[in-house]
């Protein structure tokens, strides 16, 4: 009975902490809503229009792959690029002194950064899917299973994003690192194309990154729905989520003691 009450109390405290930290992050979005809206609209629309100009007479399947690839790319970028850059920026702006001196959990800080990233990325994903359907008549497969797969895809990359941000020696270095990773993930991993289309060595390297499983699961969900392949990828992503949590709790430090 006592332990149930304690768990309830801890849960309630963690929820309060999470919601307050989210409100602080939301204030940053509220403060820059024009830029956020512009970025969320301009990026998907310009991507789709340039694809229409470049691949106007291509096959329906290639368009499906490109649109799904861009949606997956946006989700993956949010998972570690936006998270890593944001945490790094906050670290070098001296924000950690405020947060780390409060009795709050580091994981809640990371989660609210991720939620903030989702707030700024989700609109562009939705616009990409809707405009893709309108411009190219690409019919994507929507079902409830997309929500857990989407969350697993983002959460499986939180460890990488948090590591990039917390260990950043300076913001310039972080920026260079994520640019390099974007190049790698964009062109050398199975995000924008099928795994089988890549050279064997890159296929093997791809197995080490959660992005590969996130891309496969999301692509499959958006084109065919929940299949056995999605289940396998979701399971691997779950392992990456567990590893990310362990990594953030045990390895990453923002106070001296951790």
């Amino acid at each position: 009975m006592h332990s149930a009450v304690n768990i309830g109390r801890i849960g309630s405290k963690a929820w309060t902490e999470l919601s307050i930290l989210f409100r602080i992050q939301f204030a940053l979005v509220r403060d820059q809503w024009v830029i956020v809206l512009l970025m969320a609209t301009v990026f998907p629309l310009s991507t789709l229009l340039s694809m229409k100009f470049m691949f106007g007479a291509t096959t329906h399947q290639i368009m499906v792959n490109l649109i799904v690839g861009n949606i997956v790319f946006a989700v993956i970028m949010m998972g570690f690029n936006a998270l890593g850059q944001e945490i790094s920026w906050q670290k070098h702006q001296g924000y950690f002194t405020y947060y780390a001196s409060l009795p709050i959990l580091k994981i809640n800080f990371v989660m609210t950064q991720m939620l903030r990233g989702m707030m700024t990325t989700l609109p562009s994903v939705v616009i990409m899917a809707a405009a893709g359907q309108y411009l190219f008549d690409v019919r994507l497969h929507y079902e409830w299973g997309l929500i857990p797969v989407f969350l697993l895809a983002v959460l499986s990359m939180v460890g990488i994003g948090a590591g990039i941000g917390f260990w950043s020696p300076n913001h310039q270095a972080t920026s260079n690192l994520v640019q390099g990773l974007m190049m790698f993930i964009g062109f050398l991993s199975p995000v924008m194309m099928e795994r089988e289309q890549l050279p064997l060595i890159l296929q093997w390297i791809g197995y080490l990154f959660p992005t590969t499983y996130a891309a496969s699961a999301l692509r499959e969900m958006l084109t065919a729905g929940w299949t056995k392949e999605v289940s396998v990828n979701a399971l691997v992503m779950l392992l990456f989520v567990i590893a990310s949590y362990w990594f953030i709790f045990k390895i990453i430090r923002w106070r001296a003691a951790e």
């Binding site: 602080i24 403060d31 001296g94 001196s101 009795p103």
Partner: protein
């Protein structure tokens, strides 16, 4: 009772670079106001960041209520509130949100946090700015909000790093008053400042730190006794005559040039009468103005720093 024990703390940020703290040991008693005084770059801020657990010492240990601060981070961050100067992280929030959210994150019930937010803003004469974004405030107002985020929640230990920097005289006075009030309600205060004159009014004990080392720690009264028997004379030399004045004063005491035309002399009480008598009657002395003061905490600091530097050079 000792609340915090700083036990042989040394801190070096990088190998090969001069350490920020070298073998510092002292205790902080429950309910006192202790000032860590010293010039910029002395190692004071590094020390307090270790006290609040934001930095780990290279060697040594800091104990809070008998337990290493690094082994009870949650308790330390709950019971020790640290003033991190401007609240950079909260720039997008309004003043009211910043204080309210910080209070809740410190564990206060929402209603209580709302009440204290209003009280603090009223106290800062910023009640009408409750809905103003922090980043649209002046530097001084932002620092007062930073002060509010430290005070909200009434933590038993408050650590302030240069709390009056960039504040106008009225707000400086308000900050010192608030520090004293919180101490009277039972809070232990650790105060980092290089503003020795202002700190003298509020601190119970002083730890002088320079070049990473603890030079001296004692009560203000005890420290002043170290230089008791000395008086301070501030002299303004006639135009272009400061070098000649210094030459003529040699042998009377410790002489410092404090400005283009200004000279300070520390002289023993026994000799002070004779010196003043000579200054008044010898019209060949190139002095435009003079003033005599009893020793202040700043003089104690200068005296101790010079003595320690002398010992180090010897």
């Amino acid at each position: 009772m000792n609340l915090l024990e700083i036990d042989r703390i040394s801190k070096a940020y990088k190998k090969g670079k001069s350490p920020a703290n070298i073998d510092i040991s002292f205790s902080i008693r429950e309910g006192e106001i202790i000032g860590l005084l010293g010039p910029n770059g002395a190692g004071k801020s590094t020390l307090v960041k270790q006290i609040v657990g934001l930095l780990a010492p290279s060697s040594g240990e800091i104990r809070y209520r008998g337990v290493n601060v690094l082994k009870q981070q949650r308790r330390v961050s709950t019971e020790i509130s640290y003033y991190a100067q401007e609240p950079h992280a909260l720039g997008a929030l309004t003043a009211g949100e910043a204080l309210l959210y910080t209070g809740i994150l410190r564990g206060m019930p929402r209603r209580e946090a709302e009440l204290q937010t209003r009280e603090l803003l009223e106290r800062f004469n910023m009640g009408d700015l409750i809905n103003r974004r922090i980043k649209k405030m002046s530097g001084g107002q932002r620092r007062m909000i930073g002060m509010g985020t430290t005070l909200i929640g009434n933590a038993p230990v408050l650590v302030f790093d240069e709390p009056t920097n960039e504040l106008d005289p009225l707000n400086r006075k308000l900050v010192w008053d608030l520090i004293v009030e919180h101490n009277r309600r039972g809070a232990t205060i650790v105060l980092v400042t290089h503003n020795v004159l202002e700190a003298e009014r509020v601190v119970d004990r002083v730890a002088f730190i320079n070049h990473g080392r603890l030079l001296e720690i004692d009560s203000v009264a005890q420290l002043k006794q170290r230089v008791d028997g000395r008086l301070k004379l501030d002299l303004t030399a006639a135009y272009g005559e400061v070098e000649r004045l210094i030459g003529r004063l040699e042998g009377w005491g410790d002489i410092q040039r404090t400005g283009e035309h200004r000279v300070r002399v520390y002289v023993s009480k026994e000799r002070a009468g004779r010196l003043l008598d000579w200054m008044i009657h010898d019209e060949s002395l190139p002095i435009d103005e003079y003033a005599v003061y009893p020793p202040s905490l700043e003089d104690v600091y200068v005296y101790i720093d010079e003595r320690k530097a002398g010992i180090a050079h010897a």
